[in-house]
Amino acid sequence: MIANYGYKDGSGDYFIAIDTDRCDGCRGCVEACPVNVLEVVDEDPNDPFREEPIVIVVSDKRKKIKYECGPCKPPTNRPPLPCVEACPQGAISHSW
């Protein structure tokens, strides 16, 4: 499943997409993220039959994800995103 966490508003689309078939809950991204946007939970809240841990975007950060991730995304010379780089499975992508 592709879980898109985030939002679209007048200014654009801001979604972090997690490929739950790839994520194995290793926590690499959680530790890489400087502002605790991501967390690993024991059960997928969107899939009651999945029993392995999975990463999600912390719920109270979803509505301000554009701002939360701001420091990782300087307007020019953007380095690779820590969370994306830290994921050995390539399970995380950002829409902006």
Binding site: S11, K63, G70, P71, P75
Partner: protein
């Protein structure tokens, strides 16, 4: 040389008259739905303020959301360039400038010559612009000018969950029903709005001195929240922050002339 810098913004149109590099007049009008007459109105007001006639003006430069409507403009200046030059003209030590107006917020990192080296923009969502505070003032049934002075009377920090101006209105109504004092609600509103501007500034880096222009510079509640969240003691704000972009446009033309 006499230059008129006109900033046709979403809410107000502002004009600054620059003579040999010094400001000699200013004028402003509501933009409303007729940008062309707003442009004329603000220019006329500025000419009158300066005590000169339209024929005395050598060049006109324009900026702002409605700059395409400034038909007499000899130069159209991009908003980032205008704000960077304005900051440098007003405070040469400025390294960061932020412009927060009715319908947009911008921030730029500038060098010692007033050149923008990096910038970030918040637009098209009222949650990150002055329109947010305006909408909340309506929900609180308080005059817009009173919002800021109310906010600085509070030392509470109540978090607001809604990140949208429309949803925040209901949240404010809920807080009123919950008997939360209006001063505290007003502070919460300014904190919420400032946090979005601060995140934008953080994207380009917080480098002092920080200058703020744009209409929100007149709002002490907003400036207070901004300083607290940036964790700095001083934000440099000119006397008439709303004229910042108009001034910047004029300065750019002067330098390029």
């Amino acid at each position: 040389m006499i230059i008129a810098g006109i900033d046709c913004g979403a809410k107000n149109t502002k004009t600054v008259i620059l003579k040999e590099g010094s400001i000699i007049g200013k004028g402003t009008t509501l933009t409303g739905f007729d940008q062309v007459s707003a442009i004329k109105g603000s220019l006329d007001a500025a000419l009158k303020d300066a005590g000169i006639h339209a024929r005395d003006v050598d060049n006109i430069s324009g900026t702002g959301a409605g700059m395409e409507e400034i038909k007499d403009a000899d130069l159209k200046v991009n908003e980032i360039k205008a704000m960077a030059k304005a900051a440098n003209y007003l405070f040469p030590s400025a390294r960061t400038v932020t412009d927060v107006g009715a319908e947009m917020g911008r921030a730029a990192k500038i060098d010692e010559n007033g050149k923008a080296v990096d910038f970030a923009i918040n637009e098209k969502c009222a949650a990150g612009a002055g329109a947010f505070i305006e909408a909340m003032a309506r929900a609180l049934e308080v005059k817009l000018e009173e919002m800021g002075p109310m906010a600085i009377q509070s030392n509470k920090s109540i978090p607001m969950n809604a990140q949208c101006a429309i949803f925040a209105e209901s949240e404010v109504v809920g807080l009123i029903h919950g008997k939360i004092p209006k001063v505290d609600i007003s502070k919460a509103i300014h904190d919420a709005m400032a946090s979005r501007v601060v995140s934008m500034i953080r994207r380009i880096g917080v480098n002092e001195d920080i200058v703020m222009i744009g209409g929100c510079g007149l709002n002490p509640g907003f400036v207070d929240s901004l300083k607290n969240q940036l964790e700095i003691d001083k934000v440099y704000i000119p006397d008439d922050p709303a004229f910042g972009a108009a001034l910047g446009a004029a300065v750019v033309l002067k330098e390029e002339a």
